[in-house]
Amino acid sequence: METFLRAITDGVLEGGVYGLMAVGLTLIFGVLDLINIAQGIMVILGAYLSYLLWTHLHIDVFVGLLITIPAMFILGVVIQYLFIRPLRGRERTSMSLLACYAVAIIIEGILYQAFGSNYLSMNTYWTSPQATVKVFGYYLPYIYLLGFALAVVFVVAIYFMLYRTQFGRSVRATMQDHTAARLVGIDVNRVAALTFGIGVGVTAAGGMVFGELNAFNPNTGYDLISRLLAIVILGGMGSIGGALGAAVLVITLASLVDVYWNPEWSTVVFYGALVLVLVFRPQGLFGRKEARAQ
């Protein structure tokens, strides 16, 4: 029973963090109609940035977010402006995907060049043994709780932005129909750039928590992006609530497999669930059919 409860808590709390990263991905998909394959490596980049700030400037990772999030936001806007916006024509969809892939390769190469391929783990206060709290008879690190709280704060902020601000209204309009949004006077290019920035910006927060929880190297980005993609598709592409729900669901499931079977197979749960869902419900668990129509 204890292991079961532990697996569930770990899964839900970590799932929240994955949910945050997946929300960025699904937001970008909804507005720009492209899958940001680079999201995984950007999470890792965020982790490395937090690591750098901590080891060289001794800035606490949570305070460091004040620097890394704007930095990642700017990176996202620049990438959108330089590589995504110029794409036109019939093959735009596949081209934008490949452009993101290329960006991912470049970032990965730079990270390898700068940090090597050794696994890094952060040695901050949050990873030390005293930063834990006892629940259900075992020690739960604070970072799980704080990471989950951080994810909740960001997701609430994104929801607030989407449903309570003028900018959010234009984002939702753009998600529904590009042409119509442009006709009513929305600067679709600006909305797209800012959305890409926001989607990439949240990876700084996600990456920080991920880095606190796991050891990472530049190659970890592949593992992450495939998990995130599975989550986003499971939840239904472009559905923010779906991404959150699917993230908590599959991470909890993987966590259970971890405990009861074998950690090496927990990844299969992701893809197995994905394939199963696609066979019976191609639009994803929470997706609407129209949202995927061409």
Partner: protein, 353 residues
Amino acid sequence: MRSLTLWRGAGLAVLLAVVALVPLAGNIVLTQVGVLVLMYVGAAVAWNIFSGFTGYISLGAAVFFGVGVYTVALITKHLNLVGGAVFALYPLGGLAAAAVAVPFGLIALRVRRHTFVVVTIAVFFIFQLMAYNFSWTGGASGLIPPYLNWDQATVYNPFYYTALLIAVASAVLAWAIWGSRFGLQLRAIRDDEDRARGLGVRTMRVKLTAFVISGFITGMLGGLYFYFQSDALPQYAFNPFFDLTIALMAFLGGFGTLAGPIFGALLLEPYLGWAQQQVTNTYAAQIVLGALFLIVIIFLPRGILPTAAEKLTAFRAIRQRRAAGRATGPPPGLPVGAAAAGSSPEPTTRSAS
């Protein structure tokens, strides 16, 4: 027009002859790189038969490749085959990959565009994970083929000619498909799948057939790779870079064209092979590859060959128009170019845009 076809045929024959003579130069490194180049030509052509013709971007070609690698590796191991007998197994590797392609395609081809890409990536990771975790695949330490006690100087020649055979055969197959009814159906799916279906194309069956053909060729190449590289390791048999590289080759040369993937592979693989030799700086090579990718996408979105062909046609048209203008005689006082521009609205609109 007939002379053009003749020139093309002659050019192809010369190219083939040169390629076939490469191993006779006796340079072992050259032959070794040549095997990889030809393998990638074959893989890019195979990828293009499905993805290029139908417009479904698959990043799961490495699934077929890996299945081919492991099929040949496992049969070799259990039957204790040695020497040239292993070469006979390549079609079996292809068949196994084709058998995998059927359920893979039945699941993945239900969805389109982005979702399709993601599903292919997901299936790819499932296979890589299985290769790592099952005991009969040898796990992370992989499988090793029997030692080849052939003459060191010419050891790669059989691999070279097998790869050449597969590459040429797939190129011919792609060419045959391109002009056939089947090829037209594939391209109709690429242009507008719903309309193609409305016109009576059995889209699922057609897509699946192309997917299986593409898988068969890639699987054979996987078998070849296993014996050539002397290992079956999960990270090389199921390599995400493989997917990306062949996609880049096809896009570089010209996505969905016949010659594009061949050209792209011939251009790119030597660079990649060279980059792999630079052990100290592989990451710089990776950054260059990504940058190259971006440049192609932004500046040559249709690939080198189609863009070049377009420029050539435009150049020919201008020259022809000039020649025609000279024959009829330009109006006095007007330069030749202006007369040509006046006779057709095209150049003016082009300069205006």
